[in-house]
């Protein structure tokens, strides 16, 4: 009895120490976020003078900074935000739809050679780093755009097209793995009932894919929303169409180093992600895990 209490006490102390360690690490991890929030409330002079305490912070200054950033013609927050949102959402919808369609065809023909070949090409392409295709990609898109008369660079459709291409392999890979696990009997039964193949897909298979489509959407969404290199190359570093990361880069470049505005801009760029995370924490974390384990 006495011994048990001793063990309990030691364990409690251990737990306490571990909790403190956990809190310290969390503080370290969250510290930069704290600095961003804090210094968005301050003017340049007080940021330089005292970057880590609340001296000089005020809501009025936050308002000044926010309006300076939002109305800045280089940053143009709402426009960049809208562009990023359109690109991300449209790409995600198309990727989910086209990906599921392609994955279904591939997995339902997995005994056939052509299907295996396509699948293997998709898998193999996942090791291709963006750097090796980025330069020819731009010139190809430029030529194609000139040829068909629809601009592929400097345009939202062009970049959505590119994201469908780059996201395709991973999407198909994850979805195919899932569809393979759906019993074929289900589709056969539907076919006997007179359902067309496309009807079978949209009415029976597609609804079953909901969890795995959530996963790919999270993975693709995090990538597309945060991506800098592809949009900076396709849209130009400071072109007419700007996504949020490109706008941040253009803004920092043009405003030498006005930390008050840069940190406010960073805050604006971070907030949407954090809000989504707060609402869909479990889905995002699970999606990331599944993506990693499968990829």
């Amino acid at each position: 009895m006495e011994e048990g209490r001793m063990v309990g006490k030691a364990a409690r102390i251990k737990r306490l120490i571990l909790t403190i360690v956990g809190i310290i690490i969390a503080a370290y991890v969250l510290f930069p976020f704290y600095l961003v929030v804090l210094n968005s409330f301050k003017a340049q002079t007080s940021i330089v003078a005292s970057p880590i305490n609340w001296a000089g912070a005020s809501f009025a200054q936050l308002k000044t900074n926010l309006s300076a950033v939002v109305n800045n013609s280089t940053f143009n927050f709402w426009y960049a935000f809208g562009t990023s949102l359109i690109i991300t959402v449209v790409s995600l919808v198309l990727l989910a739809l086209f990906g599921a369609m392609a994955a279904w065809v591939i997995s339902r023909n997995n005994k056939k050679k052509w299907s295996t070949v396509i699948y293997m090409i998709f898998i193999a392409s996942m090791i291709i780093p963006f750097q090796v295709v980025m330069l020819p990609l731009i010139s190809t898109f430029r030529d194609v755009g000139k040829f068909i008369g629809i601009s592929m660079l400097q345009s939202i459709p062009g970049i959505v097209f590119a994201y469908c291409g780059f996201g395709g392999a991973m999407t198909v890979f994850i979805l195919t793995g899932f569809i393979k696990g759906i019993p074929y009997d289900l589709e056969e039964a539907a076919a006997i009932d007179g359902c067309s193949p496309e009807g079978t897909f949209f009415r029976i298979i597609f609804p079953l894919l909901k969890p795995v489509i959530t996963t790919v959407t999270i993975l693709n969404g995090m990538w597309i929303w945060n991506d800098y290199l592809l949009p900076s190359l396709m849209l130009g570093q400071n072109g007419r169409v700007k996504t949020l990361p490109v706008a941040v880069q253009a803004f920092v470049g043009s405003y030498v180093k006005q930390w008050d505005l840069i940190l406010t801009a960073a805050l604006l760029a971070i907030i949407p992600m954090i809000i989504i995370f707060l609402f869909a924490q479990r889905q995002i974390m699970n999606g990331m895990i599944e993506g990693a384990v499968k990829g």
């Binding site: 449209v90 050679k113 010139s139 459709p157």
Partner: protein, 453 residues
């Protein structure tokens, strides 16, 4: 069957390859509409219910390389739009952005601005055959500062700038240091020592605001400061050291070592918080608030001091400013003045609008904004405005006395400041290059290497 399907897919991919390119671009109409919707509030934000441009739909776009005057240029553009209905978009770049590279990217992406900044022979050579010859424009006969090459008059001069050792006249006076006495290295050293000994009493953080941060401020060291080695004390058309440099990256080691000793002095007396990792804003703010007696930027900082830093400058008493020569050798008595860069007009469908805008800028109304608001020192003879700028007076004094040299970093090999010199200055400040002698030999070696590539 299998073969048939395969063939079908192959055929499908081949034939409709291009077709579906269009397919993906199908939402082009929507997308086209979306930015247009969004563009409207953007127009409002700039205070302009953008009347549809009369001549060429989109209006014109100017890429400006002087971020300090972004707001003033936008003001001028707005006024111009009000008068003529032609929308002028100002896109300002600065800091770590390599403008020419960005422009090349724009060119690749079919997104060329109509007017853009060019600062060197190499810059203009990038666009050979693509620029409008402006020799027929009215302003061209009103200035000596236009940029000309075998393509004609291709650069519009918009300001005159000066590089000298900028000082806070009030502080120097309080410390009993006569700026006129700085005529050589010993006098400069003495002035620095005097100021340093009275730092507390004068409220100084450091004697000089000198910054060698290499990522974003390489141009300040690698082009502007280095220009003093090349040009200080020389006649305006003397390109002795610039030619030496162009010839395989050679330097005059004796002269350079003297210059290096002065840089060593700056390293010693600069604010350590600024020296290796500071920013331009921090540097100017420090000077404007009276924390540094000297600062190593050129006359353009006047615009920053009277706009962004106006509050701090006011608090420090709106002190008088002046410039001393960078007298790293006895007898150097000039400051450097020149047109820092020019605006070139890209030969495209909008060129008539672009030329009209530049002509307007050179005229009465344009000059009023550029000189009085942006603090530009007009390169146009007919201009009667005098800049309300802390450095305007000192520049005109030197000009009147004929004590100015030109600068020639335009002749430097492209990227010299960013890819080589900027880092060396930082190394010297950090102490990884220990002294003037080592700095000289390293610079000599690196330059040779850089020019050999």
């Amino acid at each position: 069957m299998k073969k048939k399907v395969l063939a079908l897919i192959m055929a499908g991919t081949m034939i409709f390859g291009l077709a579906a390119c269009g397919e993906a671009a199908a939402p082009v109409a929507d997308a086209g509409a979306a930015p247009a919707d969004d563009a409207a509030p953007a127009g409002d934000a700039s205070g302009e219910a953008a009347a549809p441009a009369a001549s060429s739909g989109e209006g014109i776009r100017l890429v400006n390389g002087k971020i300090e005057v972004d707001a003033m240029l936008k003001e001028a553009a707005e006024k111009y739009t009000q008068e003529t209905g032609v929308v002028v978009t100002i896109e300002s770049m600065g800091g770590g952005v390599n403008i020419q590279d960005t422009l090349k990217g724009y060119y690749q992406a079919d997104n060329m601005p109509d007017i853009f900044v060019c600062g060197s022979d190499a810059d203009f050579d990038n666009w050979k055959g693509m620029l409008v010859d402006m020799s027929g424009e009215a302003w061209a006969s009103d200035t000596d500062a236009a940029y000309k090459n075998d393509g004609g008059t291709v650069g519009f001069p918009y300001t005159t700038e000066a590089i000298g050792l900028a000082y806070n006249a009030d502080i120097l006076e309080k410390a009993g240091v006569d700026p006129k006495s700085i005529t050589g290295p010993d006098a400069m050293k003495k002035a620095f020592e005097t100021l340093d000994s009275k730092k507390d009493e004068l409220g100084l953080t450091a004697v000089i605001g000198w910054c060698t941060e290499p990522k974003d401020l390489y141009w300040s060291t690698g082009s502007h400061s280095f220009a003093n080695y090349i040009d200080s004390g020389l006649a305006r058309d003397d390109t002795k050291y610039a030619d030496m440099l162009a010839d395989g990256g050679k330097i005059d080691e004796t002269r350079f070592e003297h210059y290096a000793e002065m840089i060593g002095l700056f390293n010693q007396y600069s604010d350590p918080a600024l020296l290796t990792s500071g920013t331009y804003d921090q540097q100017i703010l420090g000077f404007a608030s009276g924390k540094y007696a000297f600062v190593t930027q050129g006359s353009w900082i006047g615009a920053t001091m009277t706009s962004d830093d106006a509050d701090a400058y006011k608090e420090a008493g709106n002190f008088k400013c002046g410039m001393a020569p960078y007298a790293f050798e006895d007898g150097i008595d000039t400051i450097l003045t020149n047109s820092p860069s020019w605006w070139a007009v890209f030969d495209n469908d909008n060129k008539a609008d672009s030329l009209a805008f530049l002509q307007w800028l050179a005229g009465e109304e344009g000059q009023e904004i550029l000189v009085k608001k942006a603090g530009f020192i007009s390169p146009f003879k007919s201009c009667t405005f005098i800049a309300d700028d802390p450095f305007a007076e000192t520049i005109s004094e030197y000009t009147a006395a004929g004590k100015t040299s030109s600068w020639h970093w335009l002749k430097n090999k492209s990227g010299l400041d960013q890819n080589a010199l900027g880092q060396l200055y930082a190394d010297y400040a950090l102490g990884s290059i220990p002294d003037a002698k080592a700095f000289t030999s390293t610079v000599a070696q690196v330059l040779q290497q850089y020019y050999a590539e």
